[in-house]
């Protein structure tokens, strides 16, 4: 009833091919954007802005990056965090070494650097696939973190290898309050997410999906393997690189290479598995879950102890968190391989028929 596309006629190809062809979707996206840009800044407190919403948005962006590669192009990567590290350190160095470099340009260049590194480590994908490729991306994960630690130039020879992100200033306005950082992150993420949504519906995205579904067949019908696979690595790494730069500049402020470890890569992988492999919306849902769930568990622990009057063993919640994550991954793969995004879709189907299901 509420969600019905009957009666929405398309009279031009442009209308038929737009990013969100259904009117209700457009309204929903618009509403979400209005909510995020206007309602949230008016209501959220500092804790929500700087400790939850900003990391949520950044991880969503990284998850979109990984999803483009794994979900759309079918190439599994375990090196997401390393590409984020490239972005973070590249943005720092551009701002440090090029006088008068605008921050946003530095972010874009940081993404480009990550894309180059991504192409380099994506080259083996032309020969190998599946978990062989996963091991190849592990090489990227370990090598990049090592190189950033080892060569002092990357961290401007700071004795500890830690970099301090510069202040963000765009057109004379300084982004240093949590709210302004949130709005900056939100704008970048919104633009890139819409771009991703646009990309996966176009030629590039369709060629990725063809390779994912059957690479030999895709090659036979004329998709150039080299360009398709490497473009997936490049675009994915670009997203991860920008996410890494935001992680350093809008979230933590100081980062060290060791912070971008394998564990972070796994977390981002979990986001797309839980959220939905091959879905932009899923990237957001998965990121929200992975960011919020540990905080939720952690903050119920104290009050729970109060309530039941028994001291919980130290670390119980964190170990439970690992176990629940693991179990959920397995559960989702078995029951709902398309993740939370699929649940959303089922919900839409239901809405379409509501209130008169057959």
């Amino acid at each position: 009833m509420l969600y019905r596309e009957a009666g929405q006629f398309k009279s031009s190809y442009a209308a038929d091919q737009q990013i969100f062809p259904i009117r209700q979707d457009r309204i929903a996206v618009g509403a979400v954007l209005v909510f995020a840009f206007i309602v949230v800044p008016l209501t959220a407190d500092q804790y929500w802005l700087s400790a939850i919403l900003v990391p949520f948005l950044i991880f969503s962006l990284a998850a979109i990056g990984l999803n483009l590669l794994t979900g759309y192009a079918g190439q599994l990567s375990l090196g997401t965090a390393a590409f984020m590290a490239v972005g973070a350190f590249a943005a720092y160095n551009f701002l440090l070494r090029v006088p008068g470099m605008p921050v946003l340009v530095a972010f874009v260049l940081a993404g480009a650097c990550a894309a180059l590194v991504g192409i380099l480590f994506g080259l083996p994908s032309l020969r190998i696939k599946g978990f062989y490729l996963a091991v190849a991306t592990l090489a990227a994960q370990f090598f990049i973190v090592w190189a950033l630690t080892k060569f002092g130039w990357f961290s401007n020879y700071s004795s500890s290898g830690v970099i301090n992100a510069q202040k963000i200033e765009i057109l004379g306005y300084r982004f240093d309050s949590p709210l302004s950082k949130y709005l900056l992150t939100l704008s970048i993420v919104a633009v890139l997410a819409l771009a991703a949504k646009n990309m996966v519906r176009g030629t590039v995205g369709r060629s990725w999906m063809a390779v994912r579904d059957m690479d030999v067949a895709a090659e036979v019908i004329g998709f150039p393997m080299l360009r398709t696979k490497l473009s997936a690595f490049a675009v994915s790494s670009f997203y991860c690189g920008v996410a890494g730069a935001l992680y350093a500049f809008c979230y933590l402020g100081t980062v060290e290479p060791e912070g971008f470890n394998l564990d972070l890569s796994f977390r981002i992988l979990f986001m797309i598995i839980l959220g939905g492999v091959g879905s932009i919306l899923g990237s957001f849902l998965g990121a929200a879950f992975i960011v919020l769930f540990p905080i939720f568990l952690n903050s119920v622990a104290g009050p729970l102890e109060h309530a039941i009057g028994v001291k919980l063993p130290a670390g119980l919640m964190s170990n439970l968190e690992l176990m629940i994550f693991g179990a959920l991954i397995i559960l989702f793969l078995i029951v709902e391989p398309h993740g939370l995004a699929r649940l959303w879709q089922i919900g839409k189907e239901k809405l379409r028929l509501w209130p008169f299901p057959h």
Partner: protein, 439 residues
């Protein structure tokens, strides 16, 4: 979903709040530590001692100046992002906000420097964190109290000099610095290089990749170098592995000197016999025969309370370090109460207390901590306060103190700190405070 979770979180927060809302005469101290993960031994021990000390002060004295001390734990897993989340979550808790943060991680400390300075919340990074924060002019809110890495490193070289029979005997000696390949591990490289130049010994830095549970090739290199001394700068599982690897290549353990993050029972016991004779620096000592530890046993554990599940860890190195954290936090609040009155204090007021902290031997005696920790005098210029370390040797079952407090080489360290802090100030556009105007 987010809003549902938000209300759930809010509900949970209310629950916690309701429990503490009855009395507002409270001073809140956040406990952002770690009880799981690769470094949990340090986190659980230190926060155990810390919390037990606060409980003891509440039980014995009814708090500080009649103000009850409260706390809330938050698990950081030694992870920077989680640490920042804990900071944001806890900073506004309690009637006056979070008194002081102890991040217990060099990485989290780095991440919080800007945020805490903006929020005017002090951070104590006792025996870790940013060394150059010892220059309080550039880092008004950061306190690497008691001693920092550079100081302890110079004290170590002094100790080696003592063992060799004089600092002039260091000439031509070979020292290997085997370090955890991270921000923490790399921190002492410049000061060691400076000292090598000053005293004429050769130093080789050997990196161990994280997490450090495989050191075969590093120790083969050490065997080839045949150094006179090895400085171990490890953390977590790297330490017992290093001791075992040393045994494997036959390097004498009593020529190995660890930093205080490499010198706890949790580091030596897993190595078994391989740890015997190993020496480590420490700014606190092990043992429970100190009145302050006995008081904790009497007022906390005798009543069936207490943080430690494993009672045998009471009096261990990490536990006692936690007690030192407790003593310093409580003394800072006490000092601040002298100026601002016996009521819950804001973080800014606690910061003043830390900066004007002066724990002399008489005060240590009153606290029941003579010999347990060193006397400490903090000032606007000097956010370190102490700087001395004691050396302890593992005899196979426990740590035995083998030296008195050994002072650092301040003439070498202080200029390096000031130079580094000034560079930081320049990078960040921070003008130094004028310490003569601080009161």
């Amino acid at each position: 979903m987010m809003r549902a979770l938000k209300s759930a979180l809010a509900g949970v927060a209310m629950l916690g709040f309701a429990a503490s809302a009855q009395a507002q005469n409270e001073q809140f101290i956040p406990m952002a530590g770690y009880w799981v993960g690769p470094y949990a031994a340090g986190g659980s021990g230190i926060y155990g001692g810390f919390i037990d000390y606060l409980d003891m002060v509440n039980a014995r004295d009814g708090g500080v100046g009649g103000v009850k001390l409260t706390y809330e734990k938050c698990e950081t897993e030694y992870n920077n992002a989680r640490g920042v989340e804990c900071y944001e979550r806890l900073k506004k808790k309690g009637p006056t906000g979070a008194s002081v943060f102890h991040p217990l991680s060099t990485g989290i400390t780095y991440s919080l420097i800007d945020k805490a300075t903006a929020d005017k919340i002090p951070i104590i990074s006792m025996g870790y964190g940013r060394t150059d924060a010892s220059d309080g002019r550039y880092f008004p809110y950061i306190f690497p109290l008691v001693t920092n890495y550079w100081s302890q490193n110079t004290a170590k070289i002094k100790f080696i000099g003592q063992r060799e029979g004089g600092m002039d005997k260091l000439k031509g000696k070979k020292i290997v610095n085997i370090y955890h390949d991270s921000a923490y591990g790399k921190e002492t490289i410049p000061v060691l290089d400076a000292q090598a130049k000053k005293y004429g010994f050769a130093v080789t830095h050997i990196a161990v990749p994280h997490p450090g549970n495989e050191q075969g090739s590093q120790w083969l290199q050490i065997r080839q170098i045949r150094p006179d001394w090895v400085i171990l700068r490890g953390w977590g599982v790297m330490n017992p592995t290093a001791l075992k690897a040393a045994a494997k290549v036959g390097f004498p353990r009593d020529k190995m000197i660890g930093v205080w993050w490499s010198g706890a029972e949790e580091d030596t016991i897993p190595a078994g016999d391989a740890a015997k004779g190993y020496i480590a620096a420490g700014f606190n000592v092990a043992g429970e025969n100190y009145p302050v530890v006995q008081d904790i046993k009497k007022h906390v554990y005798a009543k069936g309370k207490g943080e430690m599940e494993d009672k045998s860890r009471i009096g261990s190195i990490y536990y006692n370090r936690g007690v030192v954290h407790g003593i310093i936090t409580v003394e800072a609040i006490r000092k601040a109460q002298e100026k601002y009155g016996k009521k819950p204090l804001t973080p800014e007021q606690v910061r003043w207390g830390i900066e004007n902290l002066n724990i002399d031997e008489a005060r240590l005696k009153a606290l029941g901590a003579t010999g347990f920790m060193q006397a400490l005098k903090v000032s606007c210029l000097d956010h370190e306060g102490g700087g001395a370390v004691k050396f302890q040797q593992w005899d196979g079952t426990k740590w035995k103190v083998i030296t008195d407090w050994i002072q650092p080489d301040r003439e070498l360290v202080r200029p390096m700190i000031e130079q580094s802090a000034a560079a930081y100030g320049k990078e960040k556009n921070i003008a130094p405070r004028d310490c003569s105007k601080e009161s």
